[in-house]
């Protein structure tokens, strides 16, 4: 079964202090704020990608 997560926000975060590249996604998942690495084997990131593909989630660009 797919563990469906309630993801209410997602935004890329740059690596500090240089801000040259996206480091991870800061996401609120089932009410908990996670810093989610961009690793397809990470179950949070995999679910974020699924919900983006399904059109139910948008990842905001980094500030």
């Amino acid at each position: 079964m797919r563990v469906i997560m309630n993801i209410t926000s997602a935004q890329y975060q740059k690596t500090l202090p240089d801000k040259n590249e996206n480091d991870h996604i800061k996401a609120t998942i089932d009410g908990i704020v996670y810093h989610v690495p961009l690793d397809p084997d990470n179950s949070h990131y995999a679910e974020i990608l699924k919900q983006v593909k399904e059109g139910t989630l948008t990842i905001k660009d980094a500030d």
């Binding site: 079964m1 690596t15 500090l16 908990i32 996670y34 810093h35 690495p37 084997d41 990470n42 949070h44």
Partner: protein
């Protein structure tokens, strides 16, 4: 089971490629480890890991009304009662129904699962060898037919078996035959094999027992609705999954540290509580500190970080003490990560500081669960 019968079973499994030490591919099978919490209420609103490590609560539809309190229970496991004394078991997973669900809709289901990483189960040649699942379970009031199942991720195949729960502890043994239609389990870090214990299952998940088939199905039509009353409590412990057609004695867990380390590959609580050391950090810019932490074992995947937040939860000392509300991270890998705080602190570039927690509710968690 007599010692002679136990020996015969073990020899039978060795002949089938199993047996020996570390024959149980499940982790935290006696519910010893509970890094997150020993009890959690309101379970059912979402899927997730809440108490005993590695044991996942799942719900399918999101419309399920049933709610549970999930507990690492000690009261149900009598310290003097056999066979728990022989098996060294002191804890059980308890699911206490706190909101009843009178009728389970077709697409609804709630279950307890353990997902097994391919690196830990690829020795189970499910195409040619049987697998045996054994466990202790009981109920406080509700009795009847319950279901347990296996789900092989690579081929998307399931096999459901029934067991009859009573108000007494019983050791159940379910043997799953080889599946000639299976895809070999991959030797990687993904969810290759899953053990499921069903609490409720709508008709969409009900199939015929005792056969391998495609799809994710977990129960038969005989599965009782275990959530139909707040009087219902379900207990599980001593779960063992091994190669072979025979159940062997539960593989006693003698070293808590080893079991904890196995769990920490998937979830690691780095710190919990007030006035706990976190790390030394350096101000790489003014009012911008970074420090590194290392994990005690290589995690399954690059983990997610969750840190608690609240007014003055965290503190640094660098010639003066500064409290702040939240802590973040970056540059994650399977053996460590960087923690950082930018602004809301006063520290000169190039200075170092110590960092520690400043509230009893502080936690830093790394999550690489399946």
């Amino acid at each position: 089971m007599s010692k002679a019968a136990e020996l015969a079973n073990l020899i039978g499994n060795i002949n089938a490629g199993g047996g020996g030490v570390n024959r149980n591919v499940l982790i935290n099978s006696a519910m010893n480890v509970a890094q997150r919490a020993t009890s959690s209420t309101g379970i059912g609103a979402s899927s997730g890991y809440f108490t005993c490590d590695r044991w996942l609560f799942g719900r399918e539809a999101g419309t399920e009304q049933a709610r549970f309190t999930m507990t690492q229970d000690t009261a149900s496991v009598g310290i003097d009662s056999l066979p728990f004394q022989e098996a060294g078991i002191r804890t059980a997973l308890k699911m206490d129904v706190t909101t009843a669900e009178s009728a389970v809709a077709s697409g609804e289901s709630s279950l307890i699962m353990q997902r097994i990483e391919g690196f830990n189960c690829s020795n189970l040649d499910i195409k040619t060898k049987p697998i045996t699942l054994s466990f202790y379970a009981k109920s406080d009031t509700k009795t009847g037919t319950m279901c347990a199942s296996l789900y092989a991720g690579s081929g998307g195949r399931h096999h459901v078996k029934e067991y009859s729960i009573t108000t007494d502890w019983q050791r159940f043994s379910l043997t799953f035959p080889a599946d000639s239609g299976a895809t070999a389990l991959a030797r990687d870090n993904t969810n290759e094999l899953q053990v499921n214990f069903v609490l409720t299952a709508g008709s969409n998940f009900q199939v015929t027992a005792d056969q391998w088939a495609s799809g994710f199905d977990t129960a038969t039509s005989n599965q009782i609705n275990f959530a139909d009353s707040t009087d219902n409590n379900w207990y599980l412990t001593g779960v063992q999954l091994e190669v072979g057609q025979n159940p062997t004695e539960f593989e006693r867990i003698n070293n808590f540290g080893e079991e904890l380390a196995k769990c920490q590959r998937y979830f690691y609580r780095y710190v919990e509580g007030n006035s706990k050391s976190i790390m030394t950090a350096s101000a790489i810019l003014a009012n911008h500190i970074q420090g590194n932490i290392n994990f005690p074992t290589t995690m399954r995947s690059t983990p997610s970080l969750a840190t608690s937040s609240g007014t003055n939860y965290w503190e640094i000392y660098a010639g003066g003490s500064y409290r702040f509300d939240s802590l973040s991270g970056q540059q994650f890998h399977t053996n460590g990560c960087t923690l950082l705080k930018v602004n809301d602190i006063t520290i000169s570039e190039g200075d170092s500081c110590i960092t520690y927690t400043s509230n009893a509710a502080c936690t830093i968690d790394l999550n690489a669960e399946l």
